[in-house]
């Protein structure tokens, strides 16, 4: 297969911070989901952040600044990667419970993007179960978080919002336009690169 029919999507960024009122000691797991035509060429598509406590100020933020760095290769924009973040935390009884699920597409335009993802958790199916779940610390969780990245099967769930999570993405693309996918406005796509910049031009080495 010739290399020409592949484009690359490089995603850097951070899981920066989150707001979960009334909770503390939160950590995140993230994973990327993508369609069948996508391939991870480098980087991790799953990860786990450190545990963070909320800031002791008015903002009550949870800050991770957890780096994301992944590069995809694909032939088809269908199944564009999505970032699924699920946060967990310790509850009053010391058990590890889920604090929120959130999902967002990786931005489709190159550049820096800051995305605020609303986080939600599935609701218990009955009040009694809600109580027992609270007591036992076993809240309803998604069997497979990848459900979040697709439409199928979501209709059976009921969820409640929990907070927000801020993710920043730095997206770099290669060859996308070459293959006919134009995601950037034309005035942006033709940027002028000064000629003097480059490895050959610079560099008078001083003694």
């Amino acid at each position: 297969m010739s290399q020409s029919s592949v484009f690359l999507l490089m995603v850097g960024g951070q899981i920066e911070s989150a707001e979960f009122p009334d909770f503390d000691d939160i950590y995140c797991k993230y994973c990327f989901t993508f369609g069948p035509d996508w391939l991870v060429t480098s980087g991790l598509d799953e990860g786990l952040t450190q545990v963070t406590k909320k800031s002791r100020d008015d903002r009550q933020q949870f800050v991770w600044n957890f780096p994301l760095d992944i590069t995809f290769k694909t032939t088809n924009p269908f199944g564009w990667p999505q970032l699924i973040v699920h946060a967990y935390g310790i509850d009053a009884f010391g058990t590890d419970v889920v604090r929120g699920y959130g999902v967002t597409h990786v931005p489709i335009t190159p550049g820096r993007h800051k995305i605020r993802i609303p986080m939600f958790v599935p609701e218990s199916s009955s009040q009694l179960q809600k109580l027992t779940a609270w007591i036992l610390g076993r809240r309803p969780e998604y069997v497979d978080v990848r459900v979040l990245a697709q439409g199928e099967g979501r209709e059976v769930t009921r969820v409640r919002s929990q907070g927000f999570l801020t993710v920043s993405f730095n997206v770099v693309m290669k060859d996308m336009k070459k293959l006919g996918y134009d995601v950037i406005p034309s005035e942006m796509s033709t940027s002028v690169i000064p000629e003097s910049v480059g490895p050959n031009s610079g560099g008078t080495t001083e003694t």
Partner: protein, 1741 residues
């Protein structure tokens, strides 16, 4: 550069001078002198060096400065020493001055060569005064070197340091050992400073002989001394270290040398003074410079360094740094003394030190980096660490900055040894530092000090650079700018009305004219209302009738028609008379004209009469109805005993003259009769003429026929008598002659005869006058007033007094009450907007409301509709009764000319009342009369009018019609031409088309475009104008299709995507579909298309194999159908599929879990931990772990010495086992996906392996999702081989020295486990019976006869203990929990659910089955699968006993190939096909086999059950159980074997339920192993039956077919197949051993051929002895090893695989011969048992 530096140097010097308060002019001089000198010598090098040196000096000076500053500030015990120091400094300065002077004098006597001072120091340091003295003596006597000067200087310096620090140190030791602030001086420094010096000497200075020898000597001595010193010092230090081990390392380190140094210092002091004098200053200076230039420690120095530095961590950078800093400090102190040389010296040294330090600093650093920082970048998955590990890791990654203040040396270093400079003191403004706690400052400083560019964080004062406190003491707000952002400014704009709206009459509101509609709402009256009483109903009816009557009366049609009749009659008579009178005058035309007129009159009269009769009849009926209704009312009033309505009927009778009436009556009748008669006569006459005519014709015909008949008769007679009567009269002959040539006539006659007879019409009846009269009278009686009967004129008045409410019964009172409560009002809606409403008026008892209100509506919009809504309120709230639409008045209708009109309305409102009110929309009856019920809806009339108003000036307030263009209709016309044309057009579009054509509109006129479009059909021609017969739902869909379907089909990529999306098996997991068409491999679709084509051409063939292929295709089709059906279901998710939620725990579970807490811990009890199932996608490198424990009862070799073929026969005669002789050397080979692994070779018949083999597993398409994995059909083959070593030594002479052997593998048995079994069960653990060939040549089975035990049945078989699992554990597919469509009774299913649930609660690991899924995806109750079915009759053959028969049947069933359901129906594991489907598909799971076998047994009248349980290796499976006398036999339907239930080697491990046609029995016993169970099904404690007395089996019909039809197997085809397989196998074997020659032994093959059918007959058991004997005797000259393999036939490939896996071919020699025989035993219905006999023969030597 040099100049610059010089300048700076000057500056610094000045500064220094100022600072130190000491001036030393000699320094400058010297420097200059040095410069001059070098310049004079014009040595470029020197110049350069000088420059360099100068620059360095300068640097140092600056450092000194800062250091001094700092030092002055340092608060430490040092301060105490300050005075002392100063005095010492002063002294030393003096000394130095002196020395310099001396040196100057001795300048000429310069000498080269250096004495490496360190050695001396070292030696001296080692407390060996004598040595050192000697060395120094040498130095002094033999050479006065510059170096010596240096040394001397150094010494001096050290001395100073010593003096300075010693007391300090003591203090330190005593007090705070940790505190480093007062740094203990001079520890390592000597080694550090010295090494740099020598190299320049060697490199730069030309080595002279003297120097060289000197050096050598020195080195030697030094080395010796060093060695000694080392020794001693070590000892010493050991002791000391021992003491100070727990102390700080730095301490230990510094302490030790200090002591040495102190001693040394004292000892050398004397020398120094001597030496000093001789040092030539210039030389020394130059030396300095040079040494600075290049730096390279020599070996000795390095050695020295290391020998001295034998501290535990000599290379730790930090202490050195500190040391260095300490030195620096010391040097500073020296400088303070003002000695220039020293200073420079110090600088030089310091410089070197710095370099050194850099080196030392860097090296370890770099290493560190390499090790941890920038090494190979490893990508790892995120891991969760538990706490201790995390802590450890944290310790690596994290550090806690100390809160203690940064020690002074560090700071000093940062300041580059400059004096701290306090800007504030110098008068600069620095601002106030923010208040920060000391700890935090310290922490920050500690943190910063660790950083690379730490200098920049610290200011000149040695403190952190801190911005002034930005906070103001007072709170403030930022100023808010007055002017707003221009972008955010708000501007006021006037609201803009939308100008043009076609709905406004004048386009907009502004210039509207004054248009007004007057709506007059007069009154509302109900003809029925739900509060009507019965009387009301009748009264209304009466009044309606009366009204009608009055209406008719007014018109008086009867009278009018009578008059008309009279007139007509008169004119008819008149005409008749006229005709009669002037008959002659008139010509024919006139006559006929008159006649016609007369006829017209008559017709007219008749018509008029009919009309009159009708009218009269209606009148009369009406009258009757009125009277009847009145009677009803009266009756009703009587009945209810009150009067509700004022209605009263009075009938005015008018007496009539009976005579007159009678005559009138008679006249009338006569008149009519006459008329009738006349008419009747006319008809009669006409008919009669017709009749007569017909009669006449008939007669003629009869006659003609008669004639014809006669003629024919005659003719015939004539012909017969022709000859005889030839001589008859001429007339006759003439006649005959006439007749003869007339055959046409004859035909004509015949025709006449054949003519149908003319029917004679009925004779017309004569007018029956009497009858007619009677009829007329009867009619007249019915419709007319009889003679003498008075004329009746009904008159309805409203005069009847109404009974007062108080006198009425309760129901009526309630009704009246309700009526009076009921109020009504109307809303007027203009263009569907309410514009006004009338006041609410109470409903009168007469159900009339008088509004009398006129609403003037000023309108601005075109009127579209005017609607009235009638509301009824009783109590609260209004209820809309109905809506009445009024027409919009024509512009000519004005309020002056308008008439009130009645608008009828009705409502489908349903009201029911409990009282007298009859309600609305509900049936009621009038009670007593039993005349049925009536249902009336609320109806009524509204009197109202709508008209255009006229204003005071008499102007009509109608919108101008010229505005027509802008009105609503115009707009509508634009949209819809039909509307524009009007209602007529809408009704019939055809008519419209016609009209369009008729009116000849120009189809090209754009004004008509809509219409043309509307009518245009596809033809487009005006002739074809007609309505479209379709409409489009999504007209724009096409616009959005970015290409059409063909394009998608043609485009490979789109097609691929499409197929993938629809989850076609081949493409389901296709990854990375290329973007471009050309990148898609051409053969992508080849397979898919081939499959498609094959599916299409499905044809019956005789060949068995192709039949199989057809069957497999059929299966494929069924499978795909099923998959498609369930794909939908699979995509429907339920909450449980998506969300993992804890179920509400029940109390019992809680209890047990609480109990678990209190349970005693049993650490020694081993329990297998549940492994976590891995979610796919992250999986790679999957392995199958196969743990082979041991094998038992492996067949033993029959000793080779016996020669000939060795068989299992005569075990007792087997050669005795000599101890040590190998019986057998078995090993296990595992084959999976073409990978072979094998265990070590074991020894003896019961080898123990305990080996774990890791078998790599590759899923197709690398897709490890359950959906894909369950379609894997690969098998794991475990084969037991005997490893035989064969001596192939050719030359006996070498036997003593060389071993030359060949290893051969002999297959002893095998086991095949499908991957799916391992996958579904997660693990397989147990002891398995190996499939062993019935005949194994060369091996014997069973115990050694020496052991003397008798051969037991289980010892005939070989068993293998194996544990198998997949690593990492793969997620098994989720069973379908979806409820499938079913035809079963809902109650039954519910009961079944409950039954299963209760049982599962108790025994969660037992599988209870009540329903299964059939091939159509329907849920079927399981007992339906049982029914006695006849096995194929011709399989029994010679078998006579019952057991034998059963075995035969079992064998037949076992020969049907077995395929896992999961392979057939992926995603659905439990599909049961019926027996006929099973036989048709020729493939099925254990259930199908078992069901079929059970059904056969049922037919054989055995008591049979199906067992649902767990077996090995299948996991959940189905077996069959039959009851034999005193025993239960368990049949494995897949293999045809049977076991007693007591047999512990039975592969069935557990039984969860038994099923047969009658019932299901669940095992509720404690044990589930068959041997431990009780099979008395009647015991409720052991078996819980499904159907019980409370829920009896109501006879569930079987799902199986009536009987099975077996098609005979084509014998020839079987033979062909046999041939085919044999050829193929032979070719394959030759192919496998392509390296070697393969010979075939025909003779052997033939014998085998004979043997195979016998084996089949024995049902795979070992044949009789004689067969083997035959085989044996034949091959006495050979070593034969071989065996038959038996398997059901499905495809050829498994057979090839099986043969391959036995490795018979693997004889690595050409000496071997092979024999291969294939036999296929055909059973009915294409069930084939394939036997392959393979053997290898090696000629014995």
């Amino acid at each position: 550069m040099a100049d610059k530096k010089k300048k700076t140097k000057r500056l610094i010097e000045n500064e220094e001078d100022e600072e130190a308060g000491v001036t030393n002019p000699s320094m400058d001089e010297e420097a200059e002198a040095a410069q001059h000198q070098s310049g004079g010598e014009s040595s470029v090098e020197q110049v350069d060096e000088t420059h360099e040196a100068e620059s360095l000096i300068k640097d140092l000076k600056t450092k000194h400065l800062s250091k001094q500053k700092e030092l002055s500030k340092v608060k430490s015990p040092k301060e105490d020493l300050a005075k002392e120091l100063r005095t010492i400094k002063q002294q030393s300065r003096d000394k130095v001055d002196e020395t310099i002077r001396q040196e100057e004098a001795e300048l000429s006597a310069t000498e080269d060569g250096t004495v490496p001072m360190p050695t001396e120091e070292e030696e001296l340091g080692e407390s060996q005064p004598t040595d050192s003295i000697v060395t120094f003596a040498e130095t002094t006597t033999e050479l006065e070197t510059e170096e010596a000067v240096v040394k001397k200087l150094k010494r001096k310096k050290e001395k100073v340091e010593e003096e300075e620090v010693l007391p300090l140190k003591d203090e330190d030791e005593e007090t705070t050992k940790k505190e480093e602030a007062p740094p203990p001086p001079e520890t390592v420094p000597p080694p550090q400073e010295e090494p740099p010096k020598p190299p320049p000497q060697e490199d730069v200075k030309t080595p002279r002989g003297l120097k060289a020898s000197m050096k050598a000597r020195l080195r030697k001595a030094k080395e010796e001394a060093a060695a000694e010193a080392e020794q001693e010092q070590k000892e010493e230090e050991k002791k000391e270290r021992q003491l100070k081990r727990d102390k700080d390392k730095k301490k230990t380190r510094f302490d030790q040398p200090e002591v040495d140094e102190a001693e040394l210092e004292e000892k050398t002091r004397a020398f120094k003074s001597r030496l000093k004098k001789k040092q030539p200053l210039e030389e020394k200076f130059r030396m300095e410079l040079k040494s600075k230039g290049v730096f390279m420690p020599t070996a000795e120095e390095a050695f020295d360094f290391f020998t001295h530095d034998f501290e535990p961590e000599p290379e730790e950078p930090k202490p050195e740094v500190e040391e260095k800093e300490e030195e620096e400090k010391e040097e500073e102190e020296e400088k303070k003394e003002g000695e220039e040389e020293e200073g420079e010296e110090g600088e030089g040294e310091e410089d070197k030190k710095k370099k050194k330090e850099k080196e030392e600093d860097e090296v370890p650093l770099m290493e560190d980096v390499d090790e941890e920082g920038y090494g190979f970048y490893a990508v790892r998955k995120a891991e969760y660490d538990d706490t201790p590990e995390t802590a450890k890791k944290e310790a690596e990654k994290l550090y806690y900055p100390s809160v203690t203040s940064v020690n002074a040396e560090e700071k000093a270093k940062i300041l580059h040894d400059k004096q701290p400079r306090f800007l504030e003191d110098e008068g600069f403004y620095v601002g106030t530092r923010p208040k920060i706690s000391g700890w935090n400052v310290n922490k920050m400083e500690n943190r910063l000090i660790k950083e690379l560019h730490r200098e920049k964080w610290f200011g000149e004062d040695g403190r952190m650079i801190v911005l002034p406190n930005p906070l103001r003491p007072t709170p403030s707000r930022p100023p808010i700018p007055e002017e707003q952002e221009p972008g955010l400014e708000v501007q006021y704009r006037k609201a803009i009305m939308h100008e043009f709206d076609s709905r406004y009459i004048d386009g907009s509101l502004d210039n509207a004219g004054y248009y007004q509609l007057d709506v007059d709402i007069n009154s509302l009256s109900f003809s029925h209302h739900h509060l009507f009483s019965r009387e009301h109903v009748l009264a209304t009816r009466l009044s309606q009738l009366y009204e009608e009557y009055m209406d008719r009366q007014k018109k008086n049609m009867a009278e009018y028609l009578s008059e008309k009749l009279k007139a007509l009659k008169l004119s008819a008579v008149h005409l008749k008379d006229h005709m009669a009178a002037k008959k002659s005058e008139h010509n024919y035309a006139d006559r006929s004209n008159f006649q016609k007129r007369l006829q017209d009159y008559k017709d007219e009269i008749r018509r008029a009469r009919a009309l009159r009769d009708k009218e009269e009849k209606t009148d009369r009926l009406l009258l009757k109805a009125i009277i009847k209704t009145w009677k009803d009312i009266k009756q009703q009033r009587e009945k209810q005993k009150f009067i509700n309505t004022p209605l009263k009927l009075q009938v005015i009778t008018e007496e009539t003259n009976k005579e007159f009436d009678l005559t009138q009556w008679k006249l009338e009748i006569e008149d009519e009769l006459e008329e009738m008669e006349e008419e009747a006569t006319e008809i009669y006459n006409r008919k009669k003429t017709e009749y007569e005519e017909a009669l006449k014709k008939h007669a003629e015909q009869v006659k003609a026929k008669e004639d014809a008949r006669v003629r024919i008769h005659k003719r015939s007679r004539k012909q017969s008598t022709k000859g005889s009567r030839a001589s008859l009269g001429s007339k006759a002959s003439k006649h005959s002659a006439e007749n003869e040539p007339n055959p046409e006539e004859e035909a004509k006659d015949q025709e006449i005869l054949n003519e149908p007879e003319i029917e004679i019409p009925d004779k017309p009846e004569e007018f029956n006058k009497e009858q007619a009269r009677k009829d007329i009278i009867a009619k007249a009686k019915e419709i007319r007033r009889r003679p003498g009967e008075p004329k009746l004129y009904p008159e309805v008045t409203s005069t009847q007094p109404i009974t007062e409410a108080s006198k009425c019964p309760r129901g009526e009172q309630q009704r009246r009450n309700d009526v009076s409560k009921c109020e009504m009002f109307l809303k007027v809606l203009f263009n569907n907007k309410e514009v006004s409403r009338t006041s609410s008026k109470p409903l009168t008892q007469e159900f009339k409301l008088n509004f009398g209100q006129i609403f003037s509506l000023k309108i601005v919009q075109w009127p579209e509709s005017i609607t009235y809504q009638v509301y009824e309120t009783s109590g609260f709230g209004g209820e809309i009764i109905c809506e009445i639409n009024s027409s919009i008045p024509d512009s000519s209708v004005t309020s002056q000319s308008v008439q009130l009109e009645n608008l009828d309305f009705s409502s489908d409102h349903r009201v029911n009342h409990g009282h007298e009110g009859v309600g609305s929309g509900v049936p009621f009856s009038f009670g007593a009369k039993n005349e049925g019920t009536e249902t009336l809806y609320t109806t009524g009339e509204l009197r109202c009018s709508v008209a255009w108003a006229i204003n005071d000036q008499g102007e009509l307030l109608v919108p101008p019609s010229t505005q027509e263009q802008g009105n609503m209709f115009y707009a509508m016309r634009k949209m819809d031409p039909v509307t524009a044309i009007g209602a007529a057009g809408v009704v019939d579009i055809q008519k419209l088309a016609k009209w369009f054509e008729d009116s000849r509109l120009d189809p090209n006129d754009p004004a008509n475009a809509d219409l043309v479009y509307m009518l245009k059909s596809k033809g487009g021609e005006s002739a074809l104008l007609g309505p479209k017969e379709f409409f489009r739902l999504e007209q724009l869909q096409e616009e959005f299709n970015f290409c059409d379907d063909e394009a998608i089909d043609e485009n490979k990529r789109f097609r691929l995507i499409y197929l993938r999306d629809s989850e076609v098996t081949e493409f389901k997991n296709y990854k990375m579909i290329p973007l471009l068409d050309r990148d898609i491999p051409r053969d992508t679709f080849a397979e898919y298309e081939k499959k498609k084509r094959e599916e299409e051409k499905y044809k019956e063939e005789k060949d068995i194999e192709s039949h199989r292929a057809a069957v497999s295709k059929f299966m494929q089709r069924v499978r795909e159908q099923v998959i498609r059906r369930f794909r939908l279901l699979a995509h429907q998710r339920r909450l449980e599929d998506v969300i993992n939620e804890e179920a509400v725990p029940n109390i019992a579970l809680l209890g047990t879990s609480v109990l678990k807490l209190t349970e005693r811990r049993r650490p020694l009890r081993v329990e297998r931990k549940e492994r976590k199932k891995v979610v796919p996608q992250t999986i790679d490198n999957v392995k199958i772990l196969i743990n082979i424990n041991r094998a038992v009862y492996v067949p033993r070799r029959v000793a080779a010495s016996r020669g000939g073929a060795m068989t299992a026969r005569e075990p007792d005669k087997a050669v005795k086992n000599i101890v040590g002789e190998t019986q057998v050397q078995p090993f296990i080979e595992v084959m999976f996906q073409d990978v072979f692994l094998h265990t070590e070779v074991g020894d003896g018949p019961n080898p123990s392996y305990n080996e774990e083999l890791e078998m790599p597993f590759k899923a197709p398409n690398e897709d490890y999702t359950p959906g894909n994995l369950q379609t894997v059909t690969d098998n794991i083959y475990l084969n037991l081989f005997d490893q035989v070593l064969i001596d192939i030594q050719e030359d006996d002479r070498q036997r003593g020295t060389t071993v030359h052997q060949r290893i051969e593998k002999k297959w002893l048995g095998g086991l095949t486990i499908p991957f799916s079994t391992v996958y579904f069960n997660g693990k397989i653990d147990g002891t398995f019976k190996l499939n062993k060939p019935p005949v194994l040549l060369g091996y014997t089975q069973g115990p050694d006869e020496e052991e003397g035990t008798s051969l037991r049945s289980n010892e005939e078989n070989t068993y293998l203990s194996v544990f198998m699992t997949i690593e990492p554990p793969l997620q098994p597919p989720e069973p379908m929990r979806e409820r499938f469509a079913t035809t079963e009774d809902e109650k039954l299913l519910q009961y079944a659910d409950n039954w299963e649930k209760t049982l599962n609660a108790k025994f969660s690991d037992r599988e209870y089955k009540t329903t299964v899924i059939d091939v159509n995806g329907k849920t079927v109750f399981v007992t339906r699968y049982f029914k006695a079915l006849e096995p194929p009759p011709d399989i029994f053959g010679s078998s006579d006993t019952e057991v034998k028969k059963m075995e035969v049947v079992a064998r037949y069933v076992s020969m049907i190939p077995s395929v896992s359901d999961s392979v057939v129906f992926p995603g659905l594991c439990d599909i049961w096909s019926t027996c006929d489907q099973f036989l048709q598909m020729m493939a099925g799971d254990e259930e199908e086999h078992a069901v079929l076998l059970a059904n056969y047994f049922l037919y054989m009248k055995k008591i049979t059950w199906l067992i649902i349980g767990k077996g090995i290796p299948e996991g959940p499976t189905a077996y069959v159980m039959t009851e034999q006398e005193n025993d239960y036999w368990i049949w494995n339907a897949g293999t045809g074997e049977h076991f007693s239930y007591r047999d512990s080697y039975c592969p069935l491990q557990s039984i969860s339920c038994l099923i047969n046609a009658e019932n299901i029995w669940a095992n509720v016993q404690q044990y589930e192993k068959p041997a431990q169970m009780n099979f008395d099904l009647s015991q409720g404690a052991s078996w819980r039956s499904f159907f019980t007395r409370s829920f009896p089996n109501t006879g569930i019909a079987s799902y199986q077919p009536e009987r099975l039809y077996y098609k005979p197997t084509n014998k020839n085809a079987v033979l062909d197949l046999q041939e085919k397989i044999e050829t193929l196998l032979k070719n394959k074997i030759m192919e496998w051993r392509s390296r070697l020659i393969t010979r075939w032994n025909r003779h052997c093959t033939q014998i085998m051929r004979k043997l195979l059918p016998v084996l089949e007959e024995n049902l795979g058991h070992s044949p009789g002895e004689q067969h083997l004997a035959e085989l044996e005797s034949t091959f006495s000259a050979y070593k034969v090893s071989g065996f038959p393999i038996n398997m059901p036939y499905n495809e050829i490939n498994p057979i090839v695989d099986a043969v391959f896996s036995t490795r018979v071919h693997a004889h690595d020699t050409s000496d071997v011969e092979f024999a291969l025989a294939v036999y296929i035993h055909p059973y009915p219905n294409d069930v084939l048992s394939v036997w392959v006999y393979v053997a290898s023969l090696i000629r014995s030597r």
